[in-house]
């Protein structure tokens, strides 16, 4: 039998990245398991619990806001040609290229005390850097919806809005949902902009930094582990649910 050496070569090259991503995950969990006492102590630290709650709530709020504003924008981008469309398109992607500390500075300069050290500030920072995922995923999802299907629904008497909710959105659902999940994931992993805009109320991401700066690696590790565990579980669970829903079609 002839062997496909090219694919073997590519696979071994590619496994470098997989190992590189997996290794720190495994190591940090392994090391923490050997330091069980510290983990238990951290789980009983009210500061940590409060921070985790803040992170989860703000990330979820961010995802919902992105859904509310991002899906309509994605639909317009998928369906309508208008002057300045490429500008709008580029603007949507801008947050990805700006350093997040700079995002924080920009937001603070623009909204100053309205967002400083508040939940609104955390959400503002998260939304700025994570909304593009929802907009782009929604746009791609709607682009894949056959326009003839929408046209037929309209000839059958449905208004544009009704067609959107009964035909376009259900068809684009898997795409939109994975966009919202990416937004949530990006939001909960945001720290740079939050540090500048809203150090308080304290989020888990910020608390990790604070503990690291004040008490060192051993103190910041348990929170990191808890954070990774929660994020991964939610992320994987949501992706699995969406995958199952879209396979049912």
């Amino acid at each position: 039998m002839r062997r496909d050496y090219t694919l073997y070569l590519f696979a071994s090259l590619g496994s470098f990245l997989i190992a590189y991503i997996a290794l720190p995950l495994v190591i940090i969990f392994a090391k923490q398991l050997m330091d069980w006492e510290m983990l238990v102590k951290t789980l009983h630290d009210p500061y940590v619990i409060e921070a985790l709650r803040n992170s989860l709530l703000t990330a979820t709020a961010t995802a919902l806001i992105a859904l509310l504003f991002g899906v309509p924008l994605g639909y317009v981008l998928a369906r309508k040609e208008f002057p300045g469309k490429s500008l709008v398109q580029a603007l949507v992607d801008v947050p990805i290229v700006i350093p997040h500390s700079v995002v924080g500075i920009m937001l603070l300069v623009t909204f100053s005390s309205a967002i400083l050290d508040s939940y609104a500030g955390i959400i503002a920072a998260m939304l700025f850097v994570s909304a593009p995922f929802t907009v782009n995923a929604a746009r791609d999802g709607f682009l894949a919806v056959d326009e003839k299907v929408e046209a037929v629904a309209r000839t059958l008497g449905a208004s544009r809005l009704r067609v959107f909710f009964s035909v376009s959105l259900p068809i684009a659902f898997p795409s939109v949902a994975s966009g919202v999940i990416m937004t949530w994931a990006r939001a909960i992993s945001e720290v740079g902009a939050i540090l500048i805009v809203a150090y308080y109320p304290k989020t888990a991401q910020v608390l990790v930094m604070e503990y690291f700066n004040n008490y060192g690696l051993r103190a910041s590790r348990p929170i990191s582990v808890i954070m990774v565990a929660i994020s991964l579980v939610i992320f994987v669970l949501l992706r699995w649910l969406v995958g199952r829903a879209s396979k049912e079609r």
């Binding site: 003839k148 046209a151 037929v152 629904a153 000839t155 059958l156 008497g157 449905a158 009704r162 068809i171």
Partner: protein, 344 residues
């Protein structure tokens, strides 16, 4: 019922120019044209999906040109059927009724009734993607007909089907129309569909509607050279069939297959044989005819013949024209094999 007046539109690579026609109540009107003629664009303008650059669309005397599709109530069946992939077959068919807020029990009754006529009752719980092409076509038709639209717009309804399914469904379509009594505007590039289903036909070439008339008239008297060339000079004979005989104004023609009732048959001009004397072979249809006109087309000659009321077009070569001493007004024997006839 539907009247299009001077519709023009530039859309992508399509150019519609001053298209006017009328579809009568209860009629199956076919627009026949090669692909790229702009047939789909025309249909979508009438459905209200595309706005024309100029021209008006009237429905039962009302100007509907500025109305959105949902206010026109014309049902549209696009070429790819565009079934809603997120809904079951039942919900697809029920969609228009639900939008109209029809009572649940009434929806159920209508969906069952129409599915029964179209023979898709056993598919109601399925998702569209699990259906075959022929099944999808019937579901799309059921969805369109469920709302009892004044007019149904069909875009190449048989083009995506294999040959056998197509000819079976074309036959079915005639029956459905008898049972459900709808008015249809049907665009296609297929002569078979036009001749089998069309009450009247409009020929569309390069974005213009160049000829409109009843099917036999359009096929036998093309208004222009380009129409004739597009139609392939087909002879269309219409008559009443009884078994293997077709009676046309007193002339009896032998058919290749059994048929009954009013049918149309097609005969290609190159399949007609002309001779000065009767040939007397058994398998042939043979008639005496009069030469009405002769046109020379390079190596070929087109001869127009009349058999009483029936007119036929034949092709012969130049040399046989000279041999036969062909001239206008001359009597000649026309013969063709039964197997050369195509029964629509």
């Amino acid at each position: 019922m539907l009247r299009a007046e001077g519709i023009s539109k530039d859309w992508k690579e399509f150019r519609l120019r001053e298209i006017s026609f009328e579809v009568n109540e209860g009629e199956h009107f076919v627009i026949l044209g090669p692909s790229g003629a702009g047939k789909t664009v025309l249909l979508e303008i009438i459905a209200g999906i595309i706005e024309p650059d100029s021209g008006r669309v009237y429905l039962n005397g009302w100007d509907v040109t500025d109305l959105p599709p949902e206010k026109r109530g014309l049902a549209y069946v696009p070429q790819n059927y565009a079934l809603f992939p997120n809904m079951s077959v039942y919900d697809n068919i029920a969609f228009g009724l639900k939008v109209r807020k029809v009572l649940k029990a009434e929806i159920e009754r209508k969906v069952r009734e129409i599915s029964k006529v179209l023979g898709i009752e056993h598919l109601l719980h399925r998702k569209p993607k699990t259906l075959s092409g022929g099944e999808q076509q019937r579901v799309a038709l059921a969805r369109a007909l469920a709302v009892e639209p004044p007019l149904i717009l069909l875009d190449e309804p048989f083009a995506n089907l294999d040959v056998q399914t197509r000819s079976r469904l074309i036959g079915e379509m005639k029956r459905w129309r008898e049972e459900l009594g709808f008015t249809a505007l049907h665009v296609t590039h297929s002569f078979e569909e036009a001749v089998s289903l069309g009450d009247r036909v409009g020929v569309m070439l390069d974005g213009r509607l160049v000829q409109v008339g009843n099917v036999r008239e359009v096929f036998s008297k093309p208004a222009s050279e380009e129409v004739a060339r597009f139609l392939g000079f087909e002879n269309i004979i219409e008559g009443v069939a009884e078994g293997r005989k077709l009676k046309v104004n007193g002339v009896e023609i032998e058919l290749p297959i059994e048929a009954r009732g009013r049918v149309r048959v097609g005969l290609r001009p190159e399949d007609i044989i002309l001779s000065p004397e009767p040939v007397r072979t058994s398998a042939r249809n043979e008639f005496k005819a009069i030469v009405e006109a002769i046109e020379e087309l390079g190596p070929l000659v087109r001869v127009r013949l009349s058999l009483g009321d029936l007119s036929l077009t034949a092709f012969i070569t130049r040399s046989s024209m000279l041999e036969l001493g062909m001239e206008k007004g001359r009597e000649i024997y026309v013969s063709f094999k039964a197997s050369a006839l195509h029964v629509f």
